[in-house]
Symmetry: C2
């Protein structure tokens, strides 16, 4: 048996105990974890400084260094997040439907934990805590496999959480941590059939593709978003420019940011210069179709076929002028990743048609794609955004980390 298999077996055992723990016990542990993270911040910061030194030496980019960095404020934010999860309703045990059948059988459908959840993620140490506490609240044991850049920070956070679990009377192994941060451990996690009930990859496209293609355990695909804003002929163009700017520029690195603008030919000449007034303030690079180039001139880089399928994650926007709704819908069907899509229009029929025909996790009329998020949707928490259709689609909160079982009360019924 490998180290990872032994850990997974311990996690499985811990999951059985956790599944039977009541809400009060879980919340007590969560609040204790929140307090312990605050109390242990010196240790966490010192571990984080070591991570930052190594990362600096290996020449990590500014933006990645920023994501890796912890501070007193960020730790306070993490601790507050844990308290908020404690305050959320417990999904476990809810009976979502219950009927009495003609033969007298009483059949209920009860929400239960999935069991053991594996999470493979990259640089940010806050994911370590977010993922662990969401799993804990939903009654699942978790196996955390973070990136090597944040190894010391993650290890410090996990140590605090495991110690606190034990003091709260829950098994330490409700939260397991993979110490091997090499490719090998990720590959092994993907193959842990019979141990892992779910594996969630969080991170770049390469990681997600590798996991979805090679995993032998159930996976939820998250977060690749080539999102479109479609400014239709009957749009309020001012609103269109504001939504586009917000969708592209409020945080370009995230998956719900817009990558492509589609605009109706009949309003393109008026709209594109308006949009550019917003975008130029952030030096957004425009990569446009021929008509876009004609309208905006030299500021537009000619778009290649590849652009339409690229998640830039940066201040770059591809722009395509379309003949109308039909072309916009086909374009989105072909190039969208099923994440978030937006139409700006004041035409009722166009709005309804877009909502009906676009096949994506979140379809917007007159609002920024940036709202696709568990907190914004009112789920209270989020472990990722599913871009698949099975099990969960869109932002995943606590309910999406559960399964169900039928409980049947009989009095001797035979079939």
């Amino acid at each position: 048996m490998t180290v990872l298999q032994m850990q997974a077996l311990s996690a499985k055992h811990a999951a059985r105990i956790l599944a039977a723990a009541g809400t009060a016990k879980k919340n007590e542990a969560l609040n204790a974890i929140s307090a312990a993270i605050l109390a242990g911040q010196e240790d966490i910061l010192s571990a984080n400084r070591e991570d930052l030194e190594s990362a600096g030496q290996s020449g990590m980019s500014e933006s990645l260094l920023d994501r890796l960095t912890l501070s007193r404020e960020r730790i306070a934010g993490i601790a507050e997040g844990v308290r908020q999860v404690a305050a959320l309703p417990d999904p476990i045990g809810e009976v979502t439907r219950m009927t009495t059948r003609p033969n007298g059988l009483v059949i209920g459908r009860r929400r239960v934990p999935l069991g053991v959840i594996g999470i493979i993620y990259e640089a940010r140490p806050n994911v370590t805590v977010d993922a662990a506490v969401l799993c804990l609240k939903s009654g699942n044991a978790v196996i955390l496999r973070g990136g090597k850049e944040a190894f010391r920070s993650n290890a410090a956070l996990v140590r605090i959480m495991r110690d606190t679990l034990e003091r709260s009377g829950l098994p330490r192994d409700c939260i397991c941590f993979v110490e091997d941060t090499s490719r090998k451990s990720a590959d092994e996690l993907m193959g842990l059939r019979g141990y892992l009930d779910l594996l969630i990859p969080r991170g770049g496209k390469g990681l997600i593709r590798s996991v979805t293609e090679h995993a032998r355990v159930p996976v939820i695909e998250t977060g690749v978003g080539v999102c479109h804003v479609y400014v239709e002929k009957d749009a309020d163009l001012q609103m269109g420019a504001e939504i586009l700017f917000n969708a592209k520029c409020s945080r370009p690195s995230v998956c719900n940011a817009a990558e492509t603008l589609l605009v109706d030919r009949s309003v393109a000449r008026e709209f594109l210069p308006m949009a550019y007034e917003f975008l130029k303030g952030r030096n957004v690079e425009l990569r446009g179709c021929i008509t876009t180039q004609e309208i905006l001139g030299d500021i537009v880089v000619p778009a290649t076929a590849e652009d339409w399928d690229t998640e830039y994650g940066d201040y770059i926007l591809s722009v395509k002028v379309v003949s109308g709704m039909d072309e916009a819908l086909s374009f989105i069907a072909r190039h969208g990743t099923g994440h978030s899509e937006c139409i700006v229009t004041n035409n009722y029929l166009s709005a309804q048609r877009f909502l009906n025909e676009v096949d994506a996790a979140a379809v917007y009329v007159n609002a920024s794609t940036r709202f696709t998020d568990g907190f914004e949707f009112g789920l209270g928490a989020e472990i990722g955004i599913s871009t698949q259709k099975m099990h969960a689609r869109g932002p995943m909160g606590l309910e999406e980390l559960t399964s169900s079982k039928y409980v049947i009360y009989g009095t001797g019924q035979l079939r």
Copy 2:
């Protein structure tokens, strides 16, 4: 592009049109299919006779021949089943929750089809129709890949359904049929990433294992059931014997049939002879632990380690005497397949503990495991029984063939 990829692309196109079709149109097509199956019964029976001849020549077993055989009565049953699916509520379009957020965004969660569903199945031709019409009703295109034994029967049924779709104004390719019944086509289906939204294997353990291990598309694991009946110390023993007999003998070949009896030591001496009185009428072979052998003597075959993990699908029952609830729960956790588990008891605490702690799709108190079935559970229809935890668990009806999308109505909200 292979033939199968082209079919899948046609199915994908058909699925987009079907997703936008209303309930009335789908029901009209379903009722027309029902009528067309009745009207075409001569063609179906003649195709079935050819299948039966080939199967007879190749030495197929009696029970498989029976499953392959169609008759006027069976065809009438199939047609009636289609009418019943037409009469079920349409799951598509239902908004399962809708809220207005503090910023005025109105966010609804709407039920939508999955897209294209592949089904790999074995001998029974009725599955061809069941699967096709459940997918049609839930707005999904389907790719059917049946076994070679039923090829001509399946082809005749599919021809009738596709012709009827066309007459009803829906694309023929809502129902696609794989003509290649070799291993190769099954392998290719498993690899159709980007085309198939779901693949459901229906059939023996070998098929299901092969699909779950090799598929590169989302899969729902169905139907392997090593189900236990646990007769607890406070059981009504007469009821226990009746439930055990029903669970084992009413239809031993199906996945919700019991394979193992667990009985508390304190009642074993009284219960086992009572149970045997029932079971001997069907010549059920008993494979028992040492205590079972001591109590029932020579009629018991000594059980091997393998027996506890075997789905016999036959008139064979493994029997284990346990020291009490703890041992019963551990035994089920170790050897159960998460399908259906039953306790017979009049003890309130034991019943509750069993319901809480057994991790299976369906957990019963005082009723036969044979009830795990979409019709018996009131779902109106069934495409299989999921033994996994993700997406669907237990009997899968129309709702389980759907996904969701968030539809968001804004008035210019920015984040």
